[in-house]
């Protein structure tokens, strides 16, 4: 059996996945990217090999993706995260569909046709609003751990609005609301709603919608809110945070298969009279 790996070097976290020749996931891993993307990629790769019970020698090919895709010396090839997220989701969910990826520092909307081919994509401007770092900022202002924000939001009873466009202004708006005695649970929920508003403004979200990325993995409330804000069926793929790394592993597999065909056709040519 051959195995393939993918490494998704994001600006916030680095993800890795190992798959077999049928596209089954053997293991995944996530680590903080920090300042040294190459070291983070090495770490993620070591972790995923351990998690999947494989060694480097077992891996036929590793492909990279994400912000730091070109900084990974051991990668055999690379594709953009636009490709790998689409590829990863299309493996599980039948198109046509709209992939909504919300990462730590950017957000993307990727449209795929029935065959899983990309039709278009949109990326947010270089701004923290509409990305995971918006939620980090809010958690900081509320004085809680980001991991507790989802549970806090679940206790919301009042429908509050954060009207500011920008992350910094939203932070100060939040302080004003805290001073006026608003409950943290309602504020957490207001932050989620504000983020979703930015996301649904990126493109028309209809039909089958697949949210992915770390924000979706750690904040299930986001999935419900996206569902409520769109006209469509929301389907979350397995391992939404590692879907890009999984897509990169699928790209590695596809490249090896094409290579195999090319190899055999070369041979075929040689034996032609």
């Amino acid at each position: 059996m051959n195995y393939y790996a993918g490494v998704d070097s994001g600006s916030w976290t680095t993800k890795a996945a190992v798959i077999d020749g049928e596209g089954h996931v053997l293991g995944t891993a996530v680590t903080r990217s920090g300042a040294d993307l190459t070291a983070a990629a090495e770490r993620a790769y070591e972790m995923v090999l351990a998690n999947s019970g494989r060694t480097r020698a077992d891996i036929e090919a590793v492909w990279s993706t994400g912000f730091g895709r070109n900084t990974i010396p051991f990668a055999d090839g690379s594709r953009t995260e636009l490709d790998c997220h689409g590829r990863g989701v299309a493996h599980y969910i039948k198109g046509p569909l709209v992939v909504v990826d919300i990462g730590g520092q950017d957000a993307k909307v990727i449209r795929l046709d029935a065959a899983g081919h990309r039709l278009s994509h949109r990326m947010n401007r270089k701004c923290a609003a509409g990305t995971g770092s918006f939620l980090d900022e809010i958690a900081l202002r509320l004085g809680i751990d980001i991991g507790d924000l989802n549970a806090l939001g679940r206790g919301a009873t009042e429908n509050l609005e954060l009207s500011s466009f920008c992350t910094v202004f939203a932070g100060t708006e939040l302080l004003t609301l805290i001073r006026s005695g608003k409950r943290p649970a309602d504020l957490a929920m207001a932050a989620y709603r504000s983020l979703v508003k930015r996301i649904v403004a990126m493109d028309v979200l209809e039909g089958r919608i697949a949210p992915t990325g770390g924000v979706v993995a750690y904040h299930p409330i986001m999935v419900e809110l996206i569902g409520a804000a769109c006209r469509g069926e929301v389907v979350v793929p397995p391992h939404p945070q590692e879907i890009g790394a999984f897509g990169a592993a699928l790209a590695a597999l596809a490249a090896c298969e094409t290579q195999d065909i090319a190899d055999t056709s070369d041979t075929a040519e040689l034996v032609q009279p």
């Binding site: 953009t80 490709d83 950017d106 990309r118 039709l119 278009s120 994509h121 949109r122 990326m123």
Partner: protein, 414 residues
Amino acid sequence: MSELTSTTALRATMDAYYRSLADAALRKTAPVAWCTSVGPAELLRALGFAVHFPENHAAIMGAARTANRYLPLAHAQGYSQDICSYLTSDIGAYLAGESPLEAYGLERAPAPDVLVFNTNQCRDVRDWFEWYGRELGVPVLGLHSPRAIDDVTESDIDAVTMQLEALVAPLEQVAGTRLDDARLRAAMRASRDTAGLWGACLETASARPAPLTFFDGSVHMGPAVVLRGSDDAPAYYRTLLAELEQRVENRVGAVPAETLRLYWDGMPVWGRLRALSTMFAEFRTAVVASTYCNSWAFSGLDPAEPWRSVARALLELFIARSEAPKERYIARMVEFYDVDGVIFHDCRTCSNNSNTRYGMPGRITERLGIPTLVLDGDVNDLRCFSDEQARTNIEGFVEQLTDARAATSARGSR
């Protein structure tokens, strides 16, 4: 990517132009007029003005990546970060007492005797010139041209013709000379020839592989912008055209192993012109044509009918039109250059030249069945451009187009 050998002639042509401009300003060899890039340049030349184009001045700062040094100085004067970064870099450079034309002995942009704008492209040029008018106490004249025009009508042409004619008396006064019909016709002939030759140069990119790209065009269009109405421009474009035709004949492409072809709408990102050119070449993708470069291939300039034909040409420009004629224009370009996709540059500080904000990319995809990409950036303010995001955006688009082509050929061979 091999550089066009005409680049040497281009440098000499531009060099001679800047030198004559510096002579006019420093040694008073001619009166100096500033003109917007699609203003009444032929009239100014016929009156003997040395003509300076502040947009060209600003573009040099963009390309040299010095613009960002000057922007804050203009912002501090109350000229917002959200308005034209050509304007803010140019005024900022003036406030800093610097000019990219320093090599020609100019410490600042050549001191003007008159400033002449045309609002066919935007309102910013007027505000820009009025700032200098106040600062330097020189007259500011202009054409108040209509914008967002559907079909150019006779009454639009009448209106601009009358305004052009009304400019003559005050300009004669500044120039200290009368407008000579023969000189005007000569300037018109030079302009018409420049437009025709420049257009022909750009059209060579319909060949496969394309002998020049939008990035080459953005540099080689210099004479078509700053030397309109002078015989030096057609002379240069004859040289360039000959080289491009030779390339077509020899099947020499500007991008080695050209695979994909794209159309570019919107302003260049001057500070990343080379970086983007290299990146697209790396992806074996030729950006073969653009609205921007084509904007100086004016049509219909007629020496026998100078006023009305200039008025019509300035009104018919892409930037002065409404969405419907703009979309028809892009559709013609997509077909003529046989491109695989269209890139729309959303230029942060120039809404006038960003056709992304009223749904056009989506309509183009829907009507022509061609993929489009919106690229965030700016003409001069590099703070509005993210190298990483641009790379992912462009690389992702190239992947999409390449995969689509592979899928089509796989279906075809089945």
